[in-house]
Amino acid sequence: MTVMEQRGAYRPTPPPAWQPRTDPAPLLPDAEPYRVLGTEAAAGADPELLRRLYAELVKGRRYNAQATALTKQGRLAVYPSSTGQEACEVAAALVLEERDWLFPSYRDTLAVVARGVDPVEALTLLRGDWHTGYDPHAHRVAPLSTPLATQLPHAVGLAHAARLKGDDVVALAMVGDGGTSEGDFHEALNFAAVWQAPVVFLVQNNGFAISVPLAKQTAAPSLAHKAVGYGMPGRLVDGNDAAAVHEVLADAVRRARAGGGPTLVEAITYRVEAHTNADDATRYRGDAEVETWKQHDPIALLERELTGRGLLDEAAAESVRQDAETMAADLRARMNQDAALDPMDLFAHVYAEPTPQLLEQREQLRAELAAEAEPEGTQ
């Protein structure tokens, strides 16, 4: 039968392979960032959790200040501060169970410390005596990732592997707004959704990728909206509201644990300090903007809630400050000791067994060091 003969019976149809897809509506983020503090939702928040968050925020702020001071004293090569972003850093760490995994970026040493890693080990990379200073398996914290967004597919693979093994493990991966432009962000979210991997992606939208504002980074309605294209829910949260960040992340972790697949969380926050101590933020933003954000400070927001509800008195606040000072003093004292360096370590871990070529080079360096150690004129 020719097409001409068929014509009378022909009814237009969609392409044969087309099927109605998932309804995108439930995946869409809320119109406004979700908030708890200062809203009706605050009444439902667990007072113990709020007090714990507060203590960690204060400690986190002090940690950031101490680390920045250490750069000025030459004890750290560089420090990318998370001052102003402590709510995200702390909530990301607290929301996980011990068996879960955290995948931090280079700005997330506070989350690493809040997860239980020794601050000196967390800062090894930035001190420069080695790269990763902690054993990733000890606290289930992946190495701090400097190449942007490259840690996201790692989180997906790890979560996928855990699920294949039948283990109840969730991976939480952290990335910044700039990192969402990287190809690895796209590939990680796509793999996670296709595999329904138990992963939570936390984007800290702190306004800037070094100097470049978000408007030059994306034309998306929000970063959370990007989730919809992958078929996973996107959540938008006030990143300076520690109770809200904790709740949204806890929901996402619960969902992942229950087999519901990945979630993308965009936390709206602000990088109060420059990109690092080596950066000059006055070249790309004004003081007025920074001041506006200081009025929306994560510690102040939580403190107002706690004191307003009688959950924090001056004595308790003082005790929290004292704990933070103790942590800072300990960190300062230990970072002021010179790091123990063994140049032979350079060759020890490139491979399980050094190659013959590395063994030769190790002997070369050993001989050079021995010659250096010889007193002048003994040859």
Partner: protein, 334 residues
């Protein structure tokens, strides 16, 4: 080639068998890549694995090489032993950031606390009439990256043995498969397959006294042919099959060159910045007083891989190899 002959097998069959045996022996071995499941891979190297071990063990991934290798890193962090297939040499490039910044560095970065036992299989090289982006020799990129092993078989038995050893290795291995040898046949006894260990040992494929051809992968059979043809010219050539570019077997290579006093490095990869420069330098540094002539290179030209109708002019062939051998200053001897 001296293996006990039971029946001829192809390199493709040996590679498939290596993965099958590794998966059967160790439940942590997972194969992943584009089209590796239902289809069995575009070269059919993973044929039957998904059927035998299930799609969780042999997984068709989304089409994204950085995502494939990046998720393999995460799987290895959790104790799995991923075997990743990159569909073609030139399609592996999107994964370079994961390879260079994580796969190669994570053991060192973590002082050995987080080894990444990942095998990355890459069909490479030309000679199959492939159109653009299907015939690259990418080994120099991998060789230049500390933390990676770079392995390439030239025989059926080695294909099995080196792939088993690579999968068993606790270090990441870039396993370069000479795609034009996939269907080459060799006498091989698949009833007694064995791993070739340790990774990093070259082998003398043909003994000779006049000069050494140092080569690997797809150029090994070409050099063997050249060595046969050279007999007519009165040259008795030795052929060293490197098998592993990293680690590099200085010992076997230099022992051969010290015996013969002359050497030609042969590979498809471009000569400028290619493996041959490194090999020639190593030989010159170590065997200078044994050399009767400069170490020569027969390599692909320094150009983007040619279109298939012109590739025969680019690839090192028997005549070009014999020309190089002829330039090894024989007149100085007489």
């Amino acid at each position: 080639m001296t293996t006990v002959a039971v029946k001829p097998a192809t390199m493709a069959q040996a590679l498939t068998r290596a993965m099958r045996d590794a998966m059967a022996a160790d439940p942590s071995v997972h194969v992943m890549g584009e089209d590796v499941g239902t289809l069995g891979g575009v070269f059919r190297i993973t044929d039957g694995l998904a059927k035998e071990f299930g799609e969780d063990r042999c997984t068709d991934t989304p089409l994204a090489e950085a995502g494939i290798l990046g998720t393999a890193v995460g799987m290895a962090m959790y104790g799995l032993r991923p075997v990743v297939e990159m569909q073609f040499d030139a399609f592996a490039y999107p994964a370079f950031e994961q390879l260079l910044s994580h796969v190669a560095k994570t053991r060192n970065r973590t002082r050995g606390k987080m080894p990444l036992p990942i095998t990355i299989r890459v069909p490479y090289g030309g000679g199959i009439g492939g159109v653009e982006h299907h015939s690259d020799s990418s080994e120099a990129y991998y060789m230049a990256t500390p933390g990676l092993h770079v392995v390439t078989p030239a025989t059926v038995a080695d294909a099995y043995g080196l792939l088993r050893a690579s999968i068993a290795s606790d270090d990441p291995v870039v396993f370069l498969e000479p795609k034009r040898l996939y269907w080459s046949k060799d006498a091989w006894n698949p009833e007694e397959p064995t791993a070739v260990e340790p990774i990093g040992r070259a082998v003398v494929r043909r003994s000779g006294r006049s000069a050494t051809l140092i080569t690997y992968g797809p150029s090994v059979p070409v050099c063997m042919e050249a060595a046969e043809a050279a007999q007519a010219e009165g040259w008795d050539l030795e052929v060293v099959d490197l098998r592993s570019l990293v680690p590099f077997d200085d010992e076997t290579v230099c022992a051969s060159v010290r015996r013969t006093g002359r050497a030609v490095v042969v590979h498809e990869s471009g000569g400028f910045g290619g493996p041959g420069g490194e090999i020639a330098a190593r030989v010159s540094e170590r065997c200078f007083h044994h050399l009767e002539a400069p170490v020569l290179r027969v390599a692909g030209f320094d150009l983007p891989y040619p279109p298939p109708m012109l590739e025969r002019h680019h690839l090192p062939g028997v005549d070009r190899i014999l020309d190089a051998v002829g330039r090894l200053q024989w007149e100085a001897e007489s």
